[in-house]
């Protein structure tokens, strides 16, 4: 098809479009939809009884803050990668809180090992973690999927991997309010591990489900 004809066809098809909001505002919208829901699920399940004492525990505070910051940074990175021309350096941003989160859990594992010996590093199959995680993730997943559909699929793997990471990290933040892991190795494997797994699967599926939606060149020619 001749390029001039293509331009004429595209111009004829130029209906008004609703501009995509900046990534920060889209992140705020996602959080505004997801956080109240996560808080509601935590409330319905029943908050952890000794919340005041946990609030005084620096490791709990650091872990909760790092998980929340990971959710925010990963969400921002996911929305930024949908906008052409934005700096790609933003993709490194989530790695900072993610590292803090991982180090904090790792420190907990060492403390448990010192305190309990080998029993402090025993991984048990804990299916009981799965239903609350699934419940707490429902609205964040739906909101993220709907919002990620608007944008340019410049880096589909990265976009969806960060979307998955944001959902997993937010779900973990909520989970800490009503479902504490007994020892850190369980938190590492089941909570942190499921977040990383979700991110990896989403990233792997990225190119298959998130493509350029362009019209065939020959149509209307």
């Amino acid at each position: 098809m001749d390029t001039d004809k293509l331009i004429e066809r595209l111009a004829a098809d130029a209906a008004p479009v609703r501009r995509l909001r900046p990534p920060g505002r889209r992140l705020a919208l996602w959080l505004a939809l997801s956080v109240p829901y996560v808080a509601l699920v935590a409330y319905v399940h029943g908050l952890v009884v000794d919340m005041p004492s946990l609030g005084a525990d620096p490791r709990f505070v650091i872990e909760a803050a790092a998980a929340s910051a990971t959710a925010i940074a990963a969400g921002y990175a996911a929305f930024s990668t949908l906008v052409p021309g934005r700096s790609r350096a933003v993709v490194w941003l989530p790695l900072i809180p993610l590292s803090v989160w991982l180090v904090s859990i790792g420190k907990g594992c060492i403390d448990d090992w010192v305190r309990l010996g080998a029993a402090g590093l025993t991984v048990k199959i804990d299916w009981i973690c799965i239903p609350p995680m699934a419940w707490v993730g429902i609205v964040p997943v739906i909101a993220m999927v709907v919002m990620l559909r608007r944008g340019a699929p410049l880096m589909p793997r990265v976009t969806l991997a960060f979307g998955g990471l944001a959902i997993g990290a937010l779900a973990n933040s909520g989970l800490q309010l009503f479902h504490l892991g007994d020892i850190s190795i369980m938190v590492l494997v089941w909570h942190f591990g499921s977040t990383v797994l979700l991110s990896a699967v989403a990233g792997w599926l990225g190119p298959g489900i998130f493509r350029w939606n362009i019209a065939p060149r020959s149509s209307g020619a």
Binding site: T3, A11, A14, V17, W212
Partner: protein
Amino acid sequence: MTEHCDKLADLGALMRAAQDGDKAAYCKLLRQVTPILRQAVRQRRHFLQPQDIEDLVQDILLSLHAVRATYDPARPFLPWLMAIARNRVADGGRRHLRRAAHEVAVEEYPETFDYDATNHIGEGYGDPQALRQAIEKLPQGQRQAIEMLKLRELSLNEAAAVSGMSVGALKVAVHRAIKTLRVALHAES
């Protein structure tokens, strides 16, 4: 320099108008960015043929159209455009590699299939020397008809005009000649 900056600002303004549904502004914008895109593609893929470069330019225009809602008028236009262009050129390269991995480039396509039965084209004509000799031995009318209609490929009307024979007589002569030749060549082989 000022003119260049004005032009870039114009592109942003045209895109903003296009997002609001201004078809004329959009057409103008696409016409202005097409040479920029063509040059950018040529720089990145200088080994491509002109038609392949044009294919990539069209891909970029279609992609731009699909994601025109992502342009933020508060930000510069060209980085937005070039990010799309880079992405589509890279996608084009990946497509090319995938295709190259599954295809075998050949200078000329084979004219026949591999099967033996399809590989006897040369032999189908038999011995040209024997055919020539058999034609020479034909009666004059039949030989003349064969020469005009089969060797010189004249039409029946043309052959009739040249030889003075009627069309019907020519048909009969050719038919008999072919029959005679077939018998002669089979007997020889």
